[in-house]
């Protein structure tokens, strides 16, 4: 391709002829994602108040190891107390072992990429609005070429869907007073269940999922299974942005709910 000599139009940062409030959407994304990142990081380092009754915060699920000084967490831990070999200088919290995986799934998600490139890196700040820098590599070279690993974080995210679904089942098992458990539903159970529904809608509508289940074929219809899966994934994909935000909100709210109930600030009402 040959470049046509052009009259270079000077376009400084933020320069545009747009009259609308183009800065609202990137600002909302900046505040929304920024709030979530700050809250989730804070919550991950707390290493306490992540369980309440049969509920377990999704930030901490699954609990591989728990701190010995938080007995409620030990009840959920797969492998018991924090192992002795864990380096003393590294801050320990069950969430720090878990959160990077769903975090990187969202970080490499096609929707979030477009959103945070605009909101956090102003690349561009908004459509047809001038950028702050001249150089550009896109996702063509290091480091952003690493975004292509997205589908592997999708596989891990699918495992988390099963684990969180199991946690919803556990959230229906309440102590019966005789050392056993009985079926019950609290407000927290419903919130945790809603979270799994929205996370599933977000994950299964992921662009990489859409490709893997059938989009890679030119004639998807030739395989009934691929055809059905592709149609379902596509249907969810049309609302991918909506599910991305709703699931981000509910996963954070689940942690907040469990945390405030555990701290005695909120009361969890039993429905059944």
């Amino acid at each position: 391709m040959q470049v046509i000599p052009v009259t270079d139009v000077s376009r400084g940062f933020g320069s545009t002829s747009r009259r609308d409030t183009w800065w609202v959407a990137p600002l909302a994304v900046f505040l929304g994602l920024g709030t979530f990142v700050v809250y989730s990081t804070w919550a991950a380092f707390q290493n306490a108040h992540y369980t309440f009754g049969p509920y377990l915060s999704p930030f901490y699920a699954p609990v591989l190891w728990a701190s010995p000084d938080y007995p409620a967490g030990l009840e959920h831990a797969w492998f018991g107390a924090k192992p002795a070999w864990f380096p003393a200088l590294v801050p320990f919290s069950p969430a720090l072992l878990i959160l990077p995986f769903p975090g990187l799934f969202r970080f490499t998600c096609y929707y979030y990429r477009g959103a945070y490139y605009k909101a956090f890196w102003a690349d561009p700040p908004s459509c047809a609005v001038g950028e702050p820098r001249k150089s550009y590599w896109g996702e063509n070279s290091f480091p952003l070429i690493l975004q292509n690993v997205h589908r592997y974080f999708l596989y891990i995210a699918c495992i988390f869907l099963f684990l969180l679904s199991y946690d919803v089942w556990l959230a229906t098992r309440w102590p019966d007073g005789n050392g056993g458990t009985t079926f019950g539903i609290g407000v927290g159970t419903l919130i945790l269940a809603l979270n799994v529904v929205l996370l599933t809608s977000y994950t299964l509508g992921c662009h990489a999922m859409r490709h893997i289940v059938g989009g890679f074929k030119d004639e998807v219809s030739k395989s009934a299974m691929c055809d059905g899966a592709y149609a379902c994934s596509s249907a969810l994909n049309y609302k991918h942005q909506l599910f991305a935000w709703l699931s981000l909100f509910t996963v954070g709210f689940c942690d907040l709910y469990v945390r405030l109930c555990s701290m005695g600030i909120w009361t969890d009402y039993r429905i059944l």
Binding site: M1, R19, G114, C127, N148, H207, D218, S221
Partner: protein, 246 residues
């Protein structure tokens, strides 16, 4: 009749250009192209603008109206605030020729670099093919493109970073998708997409989708599926191995 002011970009003989205000009468049902034509007829007969069908199907009258890339013939005046001047300027990504007319010939040269459709042998003795309608629908969406080049205009890789040598832009990624996903096509464009056509430069800001007058889901249905195919071929070790063993 109501009056409205149109702030139209006029190129200057020595190069560059400037906005010039024109006040003209407007009435119900008018679009921006009508107003530009009225200015042309009554006040500025040398005002250059490209247009043809006036129905949003020829893709000729692309411009930036109040800073947003749009077709002049599909922008109704009642969708704009006429209490302040309406700015009308040419697509800023392409070299100006005169006033609202730009040189979009780079696009036609880029199109020639894309591998042509290579059909498989016909499925029936009469030379026809058999494939499901929904597989055809997938690429039919991309065939709605009217080549207005608004997506090219708004794409920041071309508009701000001027990567004309490295990146073909959303229009031609969609054209690639139209051919690559065609049920009867056998050509392989993934190497070109990665190396020559710079699909990695797209950072999915979806501006192209937002300005498309044909409402093609450029990013979700075209560019990202192509990116995923490129990932499968070149970056995913498992699928790459499977491809090599085929």
């Amino acid at each position: 009749m109501a009056q409205a002011t149109f702030r139209i970009w006029r190129t200057q003989p020595g190069g560059g250009g400037a906005f010039q205000d024109y006040q003209t009468e407007v009435s119900e049902g008018m679009v921006v192209l009508d107003a530009v034509h009225r200015v042309q007829a009554e006040q500025a007969p040398d005002l250059a603008c490209r247009w043809n069908c006036k129905a949003g199907k020829c893709g000729s009258c692309s411009a930036e109206i109040n800073g947003r890339p749009r077709l002049m013939c599909m922008t109704r005046l009642n969708s704009l605030n006429l209490n302040e001047p309406v700015t009308v300027e040419p697509m800023r990504t392409f070299p100006p020729i005169k006033d609202l007319v730009t040189d979009v010939s780079w696009n036609f040269r880029v199109k020639k670099t894309i591998r042509k459709i290579t059909p498989r042998p016909p499925d029936a003795p009469d030379g026809t093919y058999r494939f499901a309608q929904r597989d055809a629908d997938r690429v039919q969406e991309f065939r709605k493109c009217i080549e207005c080049f608004l997506c090219q205009d708004v794409c920041h890789v071309l508009r701000d970073h001027r990567e004309f040598n490295e990146f073909i832009g959303p229009r031609f990624l969609i054209y690639n998708a139209q051919l690559e996903m065609n049920p009867i096509d056998t050509a392989d464009r993934l190497q070109d997409l990665k190396d020559k056509h710079g699909i990695g430069y797209c950072n999915i800001t979806k501006c192209c989708t937002k300005v498309c007058p044909e409402h093609i889901h450029i990013t979700d249905n075209g560019i990202i599926p192509l990116k995923e195919r490129v990932v499968s071929r070149f970056y995913d070790p498992v699928t790459r191995l499977l491809h090599m063993l085929k």
